[in-house]
C-alpha cells in the first residue's frame, strides 16, 4: 500500500494541485444563492457548490472525451477548461436575458461603486432594498475565470487518476458500450468526489453570496485553499490506494 503511494507520488501532487485549483476557482464564480433567484442579490441565482460542480463536471466530460483521443496533458487541461467556461458563460448569458428581459432589472453590483472593468457606476442602479441584481460585466468575467480554473482542476484530477490506474496495469480504452470502462468509471467517480469536496470547502468562506473577484469576501480565499490542500491530500491517498489495488486484483 505504501509502495503504491510512493510509486504514484507525482500523480498525487497533481491531484492536490487540481483540488486546490478547484477550491480557488469557486471564489470567482458569482453566485447569489437564493436571494439572487429573487433579484435581491448580484450573481447567478443558485448555490455555490451546485454551479461550480455543474461547470466543473461539464469540463470533466470535455476532458474525458479529449483524453480518449490524445495523451497531450496541456490539451486535455485546456479542453476541460473550455468545457467549463462554455457552460458557465452560457448559463450567465441566459441568466442575463432572464434578469433584463424577464424581470426588468439592470445588472448592477452593490459591493463596488464602479465596475472595475467597464468603469460604469453601479450604486445608482441598485434597486431599493436589494443587494444588487443581475450580472454586471465584472461578475461575468470573474465567472469565466472561475470556470477556467475549475475546468483545469477537474481535468488534472481526472488525468492523474487515470494515470494511476494505467501505472497499476489497467487499460483506459473506450468501449462504446453503456457500461463503459471500469478504470474510466472509477476515476471519474473519484474525480467527481474530489470536485465536490473542494467545492464545498470554499462555500464556508463565501457564505451564500459572492459577486466575483471584486467582492471583499474574495480576499478570504487563502483559508479555503489551505483547507482544501489538506482535505485533498486525504482524498488523494484514498483514491490512489483504491485505484492501484484495483490493478492488483
Amino acid at each position: 500500500m505504501i509502495d503504491a503511494l510512493m510509486a504514484n507520488i507525482t500523480w498525487m501532487i497533481f491531484i492536490v494541485i487540481g483540488g486546490v485549483l478547484i477550491s480557488w476557482s469557486v471564489h470567482f464564480v458569482p453566485v447569489g444563492g437564493a436571494p439572487a433567484a429573487m433579484a435581491q442579490a448580484t450573481g447567478i441565482g443558485t448555490g455555490t457548490v451546485q454551479l461550480a460542480a455543474g461547470a466543473g463536471l461539464t469540463g470533466l466530460v470535455s476532458a474525458g472525451f479529449m483524453m480518449n483521443v490524445t495523451k497531450d496533458l496541456p490539451l486535455i487541461l485546456a479542453s476541460g477548461a473550455v468545457g467549463a467556461m462554455i457552460m458557465i458563460a452560457v448559463t450567465m448569458i441566459v441568466g442575463t436575458w432572464v434578469y433584463v428581459y424577464g424581470v426588468g432589472c439592470v445588472p448592477s453590483s452593490a459591493k463596488v461603486k464602479v465596475d472595475p472593468i467597464t468603469k460604469y457606476r453601479q450604486d445608482l442602479y441598485v434597486s431599493q432594498g436589494t443587494e444588487g441584481h443581475g450580472l454586471p460585466t465584472v461578475s461575468f468575467v470573474s465567472g469565466v475565470i472561475g470556470g477556467l480554473l475549475g475546468g483545469i482542476g477537474g481535468a488534472l484530477v481526472y488525468y492523474s487518476l487515470i494515470e494511476v490506474g494505467v501505472t497499476a496495469g489497467l487499460a483506459a480504452s473506450a468501449s462504446s458500450s453503456v457500461t463503459g470502462n471500469e478504470l474510466v468509471g472509477i476515476a471519474a467517480m473519484f474525480a467527481i468526489g474530489i470536485f465536490f469536496v473542494n467545492a464545498v470547502i470554499p462555500s464556508y468562506n463565501i457564505g451564500g453570496t459572492i459577486e466575483g473577484f471584486h467582492d471583499p469576501k474574495w480576499k478570504k480565499w487563502p483559508k479555503a485553499v489551505i483547507s482544501s490542500f489538506v482535505a485533498t491530500i486525504f482524498c488523494a491517498i484514498v483514491a490512489v490506494i483504491a485505484i492501484s489495488q484495483l490493478g492488483v486484483i
Binding site: 433567484a37 461539464t58 462554455i86 432572464v98 433584463v100 445608482l124 453503456v178 463503459g180
Partner: protein
C-alpha cells in the same frame, strides 16, 4: 466517424438537451423547487398561507442527478444484462426515475405543509393529487432526454464515461442551469408580480408572494403556464447550447485527426466565450439606457 454523421448526432443531442432543459425548468415551477421555493416556504410564516405545491426535494442539481442516475442505472442493466432494445430500456428507466421522483415530491410537500400547521397552512390533498402526475410527467421528459443525450454520447460519439456517469453529470448540469436561469423568472417575477416591474425584490417584501390567480387561488399550474412563455424555453436554450457547443468544437475540429486540430477546438471554445462576454456587456449597456428611473446622483448634485 464521418463528420456529417457526427454533426447529425450532435444536432439530435442538442434538440434532446433543449427539451430536457425546458421540461426541467417547468417541473421545478409546477412543483416549486430550488431557491424560489424559499419564498413559498416562508410565506405561511409571514401569515400568507397559499395553495402552491411546496416540494423542494433538494437543490435542483442533486434531485435531477438522482433522477437521471436512477434512470440510467435501470437502462444500463436492461441493455447490458437483458439485451433489451435501447429505446425501450431508456423509456423504462425514465419511467422508474419519474416514479421515484413522484414519491419524493409527495413526501416533501406533505411534510413541509404539515410542519407549517401552526401558521394555518392547509394541506390541499386535491392539489397534491392533481399536481403530482404533472411533476412526474415533466420528470419523465427530463430524464428521458438526458438519457438520450448520454446514450448517444457514450455509444455513438464514443465518450469513455459509462452511461450512468454521464447521466449523473448531465443531471447535475441541467439542474444547475435550470436553477440559475429559468427559476429566476419564477422567483423574481412570477412570485412577486404585485410589485413594480423591474424593482427587484425589496427584502421587506420577502414572503409576500402572489396567492391569487386570474380566477381563484394561484397554484403550480398557473406558475408553469406563465414560466412556459419565457423561463422554460430559455432554460432549454441554455442547456442545449451548453451540450451542443461543448461537443461542437471537438466535432468540427476533431482532435483525433491531429493535435493542431485539438488546439483549434480550444481556440474556437475561447472565441465563443469571448463573444458571450461582449454580448452580456451590450445587454447591460442597452438595459441601462432603456430602463429607469434610477436614483439621483447625490455627489453630482452637491458639486453642481
Amino acid at each position: 466517424m464521418e463528420p456529417l454523421i457526427g454533426m447529425g448526432v450532435l444536432a439530435l443531442i442538442g434538440v434532446a438537451a433543449t427539451i430536457a432543459g425546458a421540461s426541467e425548468d417547468l417541473e421545478s415551477d409546477v412543483g416549486s423547487q430550488s431557491n424560489p421555493n424559499s419564498q413559498v416556504q416562508l410565506a405561511p410564516q409571514m401569515m400568507f398561507p397559499h395553495r402552491i405545491y411546496n416540494k423542494a426535494v433538494s437543490g435542483e442539481p442533486p434531485s435531477n442527478a438522482l433522477m437521471c442516475s436512477v434512470g440510467a442505472a435501470v437502462a444500463t442493466v436492461l441493455i447490458s444484462e437483458f439485451t433489451l432494445s435501447p429505446l425501450f430500456a431508456l423509456v423504462l428507466g425514465s419511467l422508474i426515475a419519474a416514479c421515484v421522483h413522484g414519491t419524493f415530491a409527495v413526501t416533501a410537500t406533505m411534510g413541509r405543509c404539515a410542519s407549517q400547521r401552526r401558521f394555518k397552512q392547509p394541506v390541499y390533498l386535491d392539489m397534491i393529487r392533481s399536481h403530482t402526475p404533472v411533476i412526474m410527467g415533466y420528470a419523465f421528459i427530463t430524464t428521458f432526454c438526458v438519457l438520450v443525450v448520454s446514450y448517444l454520447m457514450t455509444v455513438v460519439l464514443g465518450h469513455p464515461f459509462p452511461l450512468t456517469m454521464l447521466a449523473f453529470i448531465w443531471g447535475i448540469t441541467v439542474g444547475a442551469i435550470g436553477s440559475s436561469t429559468g427559476d429566476v423568472h419564477y422567483g423574481a417575477e412570477r412570485e412577486f408580480q404585485q410589485f413594480e416591474f423591474g424593482s427587484g425584490l425589496n427584502a421587506s417584501n420577502s414572503g409576500n408572494i402572489v396567492r391569487y390567480a386570474e380566477s381563484g387561488l394561484r397554484d403550480g399550474y398557473d406558475n408553469s403556464w406563465f414560466c412556459a412563455k419565457f423561463g422554460g424555453p430559455v432554460t432549454g436554450i441554455a442547456f442545449g447550447m451548453t451540450v451542443f457547443l461543448g461537443s461542437w468544437v471537438t466535432t468540427v475540429f476533431d482532435p483525433a485527426v491531429s493535435i493542431t486540430r485539438g488546439w483549434l477546438s480550444v481556440v474556437a471554445g475561447v472565441v465563443i466565450v469571448l463573444i458571450l462576454i461582449i454580448w452580456n456587456w451590450k445587454i447591460e449597456v442597452e438595459a441601462r439606457n432603456a430602463f429607469g428611473p434610477y436614483k439621483e446622483d447625490k455627489s453630482e448634485e452637491a458639486s453642481a
